[in-house]
Symmetry: C2
Subunit: 334 residues, 2 copies
């Protein structure tokens, strides 16, 4: 049943991306050739990366935003490749940070090899992505993506300093979530609309905000899935956030409105002394339903707000696809 | 006594770098301002990095090579800053990979905080370095350094796949050592001579080769110090290579000429079952003196070869400093 639902969802996504089929194919060919290596030790690893290719939503956003804004620059598939490679680099390092085991039903690099090699492979991916960006006709990609990467790292560092921060406010949670995830969504839409030079700043800004809001919604849904999702359906390790002391939106709001005895039980499920399934402990400590509903409500609001940004664009299949992508993010279970 | 010798050596280096004093000061100011952050969690870490600043040899090479080649472009201190920041990024990640504890007498980032944060901080440094390179007038720095970073990572990945590779030949050892370390020395000299555009390809190539050879010599000496150096004098953790299964030049050549019983004892000192001081075990397994002498001989040959590269340059204080730097690398104990 889960497999069927996933297949239906996959088919729907494929339909959404039809307007940019050709560009996506060029992007995939470009990433493959960028990841090739003469060194067997390196190519064995980069080939493994192919197995958790995923939906390549960020690359699709570059191409859809470009189409929707009437931009058909021939280097756009390479721009999308750079974004996809930076995303891959962050995934490989994230899996080290989270001690994750499975990504998209395949063993993570840190599991298949080890943490050392995963750190190096992530560094290599960053370097290749930046190198590819320096071969393009405009320095815009290098500029925007080196700045974006800084914001991602800062967000992750602040998050690492906020473990078990149950008193954190919602703004701080969203600041971290946006830095971590919305940054690349924003950059994808901005570059798609603007590359190689922003002729229509209003449209570029609208699409950048669209990316930021959809990206934040994506991270909120991701956090909900890690908290209450099923590993088999999600296709990657779940429960990492509780394990790692990350207090995500549903827990944050549940904790804020809980009485002291419930708070103590929530803290215990995150505590050093705890051993066992932390998600089970958390669920018996409190009722997360209202927190999950509030988080999903916030994600829905963000997607609605994002869709309004598209009003400045002329009607097109790509504009329609962008506005449907938000719903896809809300409904995803992977 | 050791402290005195180090002080004498420090003073000698300071004299060597006198021709580029002003540029080095500008480089340091540039790196400091690039590492500043509004986020306390981030700035606390970047400030800590200031405490293991080191000799900044790579930055000095940019400025000395520029002077020696008659290049006085005003952006050279920023070029040197980009190299120094990439070097810092590799140090932070190296310390994670090596599980190192002390660098230049200060706790490593992975010890003071943890591995997760050290990975992120390294990523942030790479991103800031690349971003700084995109603000310069020529794309040369972005191009050369993104390619250089790839070579460094590939070298490290190949090294990670060569643990306890006692049968490795000297060429493969040097391939890895050069990729890891000579790459940035080469890039520093090449950029110093060529930035923002190579007008004199012969001189640029000569200085690039000078950097490559001095850099490889540096790594060979580094490996010797890790094997037989004293932690207090070296100022950073020693014995990491044996611990991590890295078979470096002195061990490699000792192993190659040893009989089977000595080989077995060497392998045991590197083995999984071993517990205790591996360097002590290795030294009782075999006499490393000849291997150390051979490695130091190779480093001396490389420096002599590097110095011949300088023949194409007119005499100048910077040319003289470059040729003395090689000797400094050979004599260093830190």
């Amino acid at each position: 049943m889960k497999a069927l639902t996933n297949r239906i969802r996959d088919r729907r996504l494929a339909q959404l991306l039809e307007p940019v089929d050709v560009g996506m194919e060029q992007m995939r060919a470009c990433v493959s050739s960028e990841l090739a290596s003469d060194h067997p030790a390196v190519s064995e690893m980069t080939e493994h990366l192919g197995s958790f290719r995923g939906k390549q939503l960020r690359a699709a956003l570059v191409l859809l935003a470009a189409r929707a804004a009437g931009n058909d620059h021939p280097e756009l598939p390479q721009v999308a490749s750079v974004i996809e490679m930076i995303h891959l680099a962050t995934l490989v390092h994230d899996d080290v940070l989270d001690g994750a085991e499975v990504r998209r039903r395949v063993a993570c690099v840190n599991q298949r090899w080890d943490n050392q090699v995963a750190v190096l492979l992530g560094d290599l991916l960053y370097a290749r992505a930046f190198h590819l960006s320096t071969t393009l006709c405009s320095p815009m990609v290098s500029e925007i993506l080196s700045r974006a990467t800084q914001r991602i790292c800062e967000g992750e560092i602040i998050q690492a300093g906020s473990r078990r921060a149950f008193e954190m406010d919602v703004e701080q949670y969203e600041y971290i979530a946006a830095a971590k995830t919305a940054t690349l969504y924003r950059a994808a839409c901005e570059l798609g609309a603007a590359y190689p030079a922003a002729d229509n700043p209003e449209q570029v800004e609208a699409l950048a905000c669209f990316g930021e809001e959809v990206g934040l919604a994506f991270q909120i849904v991701d956090d909900v899935l890690d908290l209450v999702g099923d590993q088999e359906a999600v296709g990657k390790s779940v429960g990492n956030d509780v394990e790692d002391g990350k207090v995500t939106l549903p827990v944050l709001t549940t904790y804020a409105s809980a009485d002291e005895s419930v708070r103590t039980a929530i803290r215990a499920a995150y505590g050093d002394e705890f051993s066992g399934d932390r998600r089970v402990a958390l669920r018996s400590a409190c009722n997360l339903d209202a927190g999950v509903d509030r988080a999903m409500g916030r994600a829905r609001d963000l997607v609605a707000q994002a869709n309004k940004r598209l009003n400045c664009l002329d009607a097109s299949p790509s504009k329609a696809a962008l506005s449907m992508l938000g719903d896809y993010v809300l409904e995803r279970k992977w």
